[in-house]
């Protein structure tokens, strides 16, 4: 597991109060992990803080699964 993947999964667990075992890369924040709209906003804010970046709203909307979050960070951070 890459460093970025680990950090993303850790944030997802913390923010959504999910068990590590339940968080799969394919997990959808809303459908599988029970996030509401405010949770997803907080999650994006936490990712921004962790990776010291700003995720624009239209990009943030497309991040709905763990894998999409990992992909976004991989694609946008050096």
């Amino acid at each position: 597991m890459s460093d970025i993947e680990q950090r993303v999964r850790k944030i997802v667990c913390e923010q959504l109060g999910a068990n590590e075992a339940d968080v799969k890369n394919a997990s959808s924040f809303v459908d599988d992990l029970g996030a509401d709209s405010l949770d997803t906003v907080e999650l994006v804010m936490a990712l921004e803080e962790e990776f010291d970046c700003e995720i624009p709203d239209d990009e943030a909307e497309k991040i709905t699964t763990v894998q999409q979050a990992i992909d976004y960070v991989n694609a946008n951070l050096k």
């Binding site: 509401d36 405010l38 907080e42 804010m45």
Partner: protein, 251 residues
């Protein structure tokens, strides 16, 4: 005066705290144990807040802040975070009037009042929300007005801004309730301040005829309501407007 320190450990930001209702709110929160940051638009206003705090033995500072200026808002919040920590109580009190009949109201009269009285509530609330959400606790209290609920000739701009606060408050209360943050308004009636001192006696007499308690309110009576909403005693009140008007308007 209450000696119970219900707000120990809290960090409160009160806008427009140099005089009138805002000064009384800042003093009351401080007396109940909160660390208070009071803001005023001018540096001299900020200094007078600070010396008031010192005299009253209140922890906190005065800072200059124009709530219309987003860069100043960001700067002040950073300063507060660095000096004191995260804000747990926000009191949106700063406000202005530009009274005139609608027929004569300019765009500037409208925009200035909506921006200072309503947009500032959006801006300040948004700015303090992130740390409150993280902390899973917070209080946002906006000082509205009876005029926002009754209407008042000559104050279409002011009444619109104050009524807007109420809708904002209910909506935000719905958004952040799950994070244990409460959002409320306090709506004063006729209170003894510089704003009402300027009114002619005849108008004052007429106003008082509409107040069952037969007198103007005292700023302390607004401050104690705000302190109540800020306290753990009001933990289950959210999205509400508390009217403090001597019975002049009964919601």
């Amino acid at each position: 005066m209450s000696n119970i320190q219900l707000l120990n450990g809290q960090i409160a930001l009160v806008t427009g705290a140099s005089r009138g209702i805002g000064a009384a709110i800042a003093a009351e929160l401080g007396q109940q144990g909160a660390t208070v940051i009071g803001t005023a638009t001018s540096a001299s206003g900020a200094e007078s807040i600070q010396s008031n705090f010192k005299q009253a033995g209140i922890k906190g500072v005065g800072m200059a802040l124009d709530v219309n200026d987003i860069t100043q808002v960001e700067f002040v919040l950073k300063e507060i975070a660095a000096q004191f920590g995260d804000i747990s109580i926000l009191v949106n009190n700063a406000g202005i009037t530009r009274d005139t009949l609608l027929m004569r109201m300019s765009d500037e009269d409208w925009d200035a009042v909506i921006s200072t009285n309503l947009k500032s509530v959006f801006r300040m609330s948004q700015a303090v929300l992130r740390p409150m959400m993280k902390a899973r606790t917070g209080r946002i209290i906006s000082i509205s007005s009876v005029v926002g609920h009754m209407g008042n000739a000559g104050q279409t701009n002011y009444a619109a801004a104050k009524a807007g606060m109420s809708g904002f408050t209910k909506s935000l209360a719905s958004e952040v309730g799950s994070r244990n943050i409460t959002v409320n308004c306090v709506a004063p009636g006729f209170i003894e301040t510089d704003m009402t001192a300027e009114l002619p006696e005849t108008i004052k007499t007429k106003m008082l005829e509409r107040v069952p308690l037969g007198r103007l309110g005292n700023v302390k009576e607004i401050a104690s309501t705000v302190a109540f909403l800020a306290s753990p005693n009001a933990a289950y009140i959210s999205g509400e407007t508390i009217h403090v008007n001597g019975g002049m308007y009964m919601a």
